[in-house]
Amino acid sequence: MTTLPLLFSDVTLGQELPRLEVDVTPTLVVLGAMASRDWRPMHHDYAFAVHRQGLKDIFLNTPNQAAWFERYLTDWTGPHGRLGRMTFRMKGSVFPGDTMVLAGTVDTLDTDETGCGWVGLAVSLRVGDETKTTCSARLALPTTDDDNPWDRRGERWKP
């Protein structure tokens, strides 16, 4: 499949990304924990999460949340989009039975001294009315049809 890359010039400040809704299941939580080699019991053991930790269920682990944010962002950019930096703050846990909604807005656009085009995004992961995690991301997009952020190395890559 050939798709046209999203270019830096295609993006505008305040632009909203398409929302992503995901129904969280126990399988999804366990799959994410095992895929990231996170063996801590609160991500797969209901009794531990409830009786030892006082939570309502097992919950999404940190690396898996990062993977969800990455997937959300690169669904939008396509494969030429290259993540430079991501910061996220977890305010509450995401449990089986939750419907998590990821939404994002472009909040900065800049070009660095090497000519790399950077998009800053504010992303939220919400369940119902509650924001569970906030994420700020900085990713590079091609500035022209023949630019490829993945070609950048060393001093030409300033994430």
């Binding site: 499949m1 994410g32 993977a67 494969p79 996220f88």
Partner: protein, 169 residues
Amino acid sequence: MSLPPAVAAMLGVRQYEEAAEFPVERGYIWNTCAAVHNANPLYWDDVAAASITGGPIAPPTTLSLWMRPHYWSPGHEGERLALRLHFDMKAAFELPEAIIGDNTLVFHEPVRPGDVISHAQVLRSVSDIKTLHLGTGRWWNIDVEYWNQRGDTVGIESYAGFGYRKPGQ
């Protein structure tokens, strides 16, 4: 409030410098993508990966995956832990519970199948005693630096952990 000397001595010191127990492999790349339904062709289509990234790569957010120990391996007893400085801080302050609050990931050279990743952990700071809705304890900041077998930095992670004791605990 001053820190215990043993903790103060750890600030800024590289610890747990070690190489991964296994090379980067595509099974975990596909498991990671499957877990979040990530259809990015960089991870599924070798032709796309060859033209865009010069061959297959791992999703950038898998950084910590490659350094997580096997749950068990010969010669080890009990659960083996990743991010050991986090657990060192829990033990140093005798705090039975802990969470990770903030996590920053900075991505450098792409990680590729066959790479052997190494890492080191650095304790950057420890707060005074704080009381949150979870309980009373301390925040600590830990950086984890990752590099490949050629010595290229592949990423840096920063964690803010909060170790605490629940009310009545």
